[in-house]
């Protein structure tokens, strides 16, 4: 069963229609990439899944978005529970100006668990190990997260999600500030994590989508033009517009 399904999803920013009848299904334990030129609505779509668009004034949505079969667009969705389940990694790494340790344990604290110090230490270690940062940072847990390198910061932000036991990881151009080597390492990490998570990545970089994703959706002007197996999309696109984009005619 698909982890996230959208049905006839429309979204308006005031009078501007940013998403037009999006139908899609995101499978668990897969990496799904959403590609498309700037302003096509790919970040907007991503931010529907954890309702981050709510922060923008004048946003309106119609249609259905099912996460684990539950419509998250109806009024009684608990955003705290939703966002705990559907985590997000941002374009610019945004660890809090706290220590490495406090960053990872942040979710634990806000979700009101009364974990003992010992249990918290375990969570921190486990989360950092999952993102391959433990060896680098185990002696620097009390250091400010702001002193880390960009790649370490982005990994830390992923570790933060692992610590709250998210099911879905939304990634909004997570590598756009990283150099090619760091990007390769983060992509490697994504492949490892997909066994345990549903990963949806918005990317500007078509090669990245081709390298890392299992499924791909191509968006243009608020429409999800084509959605399917990555290999097929890149080798035998059904829609002329997709073909024009991936062959570099525009974008």
């Amino acid at each position: 069963m698909a982890k996230i399904v959208t049905r006839n999803l429309d979204l308006w920013y005031g009078n501007f229609k940013a998403l037009k009848g999006v139908n899609s299904a995101f499978e668990p334990n897969k990496i799904t990439a959403i590609i498309g030129p700037s302003g096509c609505g790919k970040s907007t779509l991503l931010r529907v899944f954890n309702r981050m668009n709510d922060l923008i004034e004048g946003v309106r949505m119609t249609g259905e978005v099912l996460v684990d079969g539950e419509n998250i667009l109806n009024g009684n969705t608990d955003l705290v529970i939703l966002r705990k389940k559907v985590g997000m990694v941002f374009q610019r790494p945004n660890p809090f100006p706290l220590s490495v340790y406090e960053n990872i344990i942040f979710g634990e604290k806000i979700h009101g668990s009364s974990a003992t110090r010992h249990k918290r230490d375990d969570i921190v270690e486990e989360s950092l190990k999952s993102v391959l940062l433990w060896d680098e940072l185990k002696d620097k847990l009390d250091k400010s997260a702001l002193s880390l390198s960009l790649e370490q910061k982005q990994r830390l932000c992923i570790a933060r999600l692992i610590a709250v036991k998210s099911d879905v990881v939304l990634m909004d151009e997570p590598c756009s500030t990283l150099d090619p080597q760091a990007t390769a390492r983060v992509e490697e990490l994504m492949r490892e994590l997909k066994n345990r998570y549903t990963i949806i990545i918005v990317t500007h970089n078509m090669q990245q989508a081709a390298r890392v994703s299992d499924d791909t959706g191509f968006m243009l002007l608020g429409e999800l033009v084509e959605f399917g197996n990555t290999h097929e999309i890149f080798t035998a696109p059904k829609d002329k517009r997709t073909e024009d984009y991936i062959t570099g005619r525009y974008g």
């Binding site: 955003l79 966002r83 809090f96 942040f106 709250v164």
Partner: protein
């Protein structure tokens, strides 16, 4: 010719820039020249720690401890009142209030800053002082507490506007990150935004306190002006500033009393200087 013009203009601007420093230095030198003379008759420690201030008795008692404590009580009281309210107000303006209310509030805060202190003192005298008197059943409402409450109103605009700036300059990505982890709005404010803005908020508090310590008129009108060591905040006190303002007119130029008032000026100068430098340090560390 063009080069010459540039040269002249640059030097003129330089001169203007240096003028402010030059004037501060001049003022400080003048204060020192007039103020240090008092230490010919009274030692530094008996000046700062002396318990009685009778400048015109014979021989004069020139101990400013009651005045220092007066300033301290009033300032502490004002800080205790204005810091929580001011910071909370800044949080409301920066993080919570919807657009229109925000504009109204900001205009209100600016207006509060624009009220002349003598007017605030006057209002305090006819409204606050009787209130304090009747609530605590005191012989007089002219107390340190009244001064604190009044001065809290004066510190508030400084604290609110600078703290709001600090909160506002916290990168939005922190807020998004916290919300995306499922934090509530309040958890985001308390655990992420406030810590991230803490240095700016500390600077705001320092500058607010600086405003309070230097305030004269209102405090002179409603604190009762009794130069005795205050045992509580419900008794009349006299601050350093009020002492200078009240007594300068009647001090004989060149007399011990006159020199002592200038020495108080030095103390005030040093206190404000320290406060401002500390605030500056906080502000610059933030960047």
């Amino acid at each position: 010719m063009r080069k010459f013009k540039e040269f002249i203009i640059e030097k003129l601007i330089l001169l203007c820039g240096l003028a402010s420093i030059f004037f501060v230095a001049l003022i400080f030198l003048f204060l020192l020249k007039e103020g240090l003379a008092v230490f010919k008759t009274v030692g530094l420690f008996s000046f700062l720690g002396g318990k009685s201030w009778y400048p015109i008795s014979e021989p004069p008692h020139l101990g400013i401890l009651p005045l220092i404590l007066g300033s301290l009580w009033v300032t502490l009281g004002a800080a205790i009142i204005s810091v929580p309210i001011g910071v909370a107000c800044a949080v409301y303006i920066a993080e919570i209030s919807p657009g229109k209310i925000k504009e109204v509030l900001k205009a209100g805060i600016e207006l509060l800053a624009a009220i002349p202190s003598v007017v605030l003192g006057f209002i305090g005298m006819v409204t606050l002082v009787p209130l304090v008197k009747s609530i605590f059943h005191l012989p007089t409402g002219l107390t340190a507490l009244s001064g604190s409450i009044m001065l809290a109103f004066m510190a508030m605009p400084t604290i609110v506007s600078i703290a709001e700036d600090a909160l506002y300059s916290v990168p939005k990505i922190y807020k998004e990150g916290a919300l995306a982890l499922g934090a509530t709005h309040w958890q985001t404010i308390w655990r992420v935004i406030l810590p991230a803005a803490s240095k700016g908020i500390l600077a705001a508090v320092m500058l607010g306190i600086g405003r309070v310590i230097g305030e004269t008129m209102a405090v002179m009108m409603i604190t009762g002006n009794a130069a005795v060591i205050p045992q509580s905040i419900l008794v009349p006190v006299r601050t350093l500033t009020a002492t200078i303002a009240a007594e300068m007119g009647e001090a004989v130029v060149g007399g011990e009393h006159y020199f002592a008032l200038f020495a108080i000026g030095i103390i005030l100068f040093v206190i404000s200087f320290i406060i401002n430098v500390t605030a500056d340090l906080f502000l610059h560390k933030r960047q």
